[in-house]
Symmetry: C2
Subunit: 208 residues, 2 copies
DNA sequence: CTATATTTTTACTACAAAGTCAAATTTATT
DNA sequence: AATAAATTTGACTTTGTAGTAAAAATATAG
């Protein structure tokens, strides 16, 4: 039986196959959303038969749930790293860069998150109003403190964060539009976007 | 027969019902994407039986197609209005405000567009590489001209537009996240977001 | 009011998708 | 090699969904 496994944890095959399945599921869920995705499609993408896939994950929701959980960790991580030590403007600009790199390196995760939120965040609402809000409130206080101390220009910390999330994730979520408008290949936008966003936020924050 | 209609065009009932159906379809497509949406759900939302709905629209794609067409017009309109007459910084900031108002007033349209692009833009790819690209190229040239003439700070015009789209549409597409983090009701974000984005782009563009 | 065009409903078909089960096969252990 | 455990497959049931057809009901024009 899958996942009952032995005392040393997962089998080699279990590790390989469930990773392959999650990778396939990420691709399909990111493109079609939870309801639009089909198990057949995911199984196909992973190179397995449907019953074989269902040997590893008991149903569609199970796969989705595991993916969403992983993404929330990845998603919150750069914000956690955002620390009070270091020069404020540089700290915020470094955060922008980290987020942009994530948009380049994990576009599917960004799209799955987008898809989930678009659908009303049915599986992560409590995460948003709980841990995310707590973390954002904390960092917002830090930003306000920086503003009051004159390290950065006064700015609405919440909307600053929204702007950072929006501009960086845009390159993952709307990459097709970005590439259509620029008539460029995959991720050619990165260098220019990086310079542009650095300038955008640096100009805003630099104390006058 | 529907849509064969009489010489004066559509019947009163045809006008009313097909509008009600499109409104319902917009809601459902925006939430679940094309594949995730079901005709039953749309019919339910519109208060009709499924066969009755299919009397007005021959299939699911038909509804989606009509919605997408309408949205592309609305979507491109503020960018078209973006004119060479008037003070450059004000012109761009006014564009930001128009886009933000659209995010407030037509969130479902924004989400449907987002959903379509997320899924690889299967129905609008030619619009993106054609009319949209042409229009963007044209406006990018105008912005570059403004920069060269010293009316605005030099800036990458394409990435400027991406930033504007990203920051404004974010409030429609991620409104659930925005409202969860702010712990606020619907659209309470508008006033603060408006001030924040004005400052963000005005600071960037103001010639130094 | 009545004839005609229209709208709506009921009953249906065909097919896609989720998920199960037991048998067959493969892999790991001794 | 023999055995046990893990993995894979094929055949299946059930439910959901798209779409059709023809009859019934309703609205509209003369």
């Amino acid at each position: 039986m899958a996942h009952a496994s032995n005392s040393r944890g997962q089998t080699r095959i279990q590790k390989e196959k469930s990773e392959a399945i999650l990778a396939a599921a990420l691709k399909v869920f990111a493109n079609y959303g939870f309801r639009g995705a089909t198990i057949d499609q995911i199984a196909d993408e992973a190179g397995l038969s449907k019953p074989n896939l269902l040997y590893y994950f008991k149903n569609k929701e199970d796969m989705h749930h595991q993916l969403i959980e992983r993404i929330l960790v990845i998603w919150l991580d750069p914000l956690r790293q955002f620390s009070a030590t270091g020069e404020p403007v540089e700290e915020i600009c470094a955060y922008v860069q980290r987020k942009l790199e994530m948009a380049r390196d994990f576009p599917l995760q960004s799209r799955l998150f987008c898809s989930e939120v678009l659908q009303g965040a049915p599986n992560i609402m409590s995460e948003l109003t709980g841990p995310l809000k707590t973390l954002v409130d904390e960092k917002a206080m830090l930003i306000e403190h920086w503003a009051k101390a004159g390290y950065i220009n006064p700015v609405d910390p919440y909307h600053l964060l929204f702007s950072i999330w929006a501009t960086t994730q845009h390159y993952a979520d709307f990459s097709i539009q970005v590439e259509a408008v620029l008539a460029q290949n995959k991720q050619h936008w990165f260098v220019d976007a990086s310079a542009h966003l650095d300038k955008l936020f640096r100009t805003l924050l630099k104390p006058s």
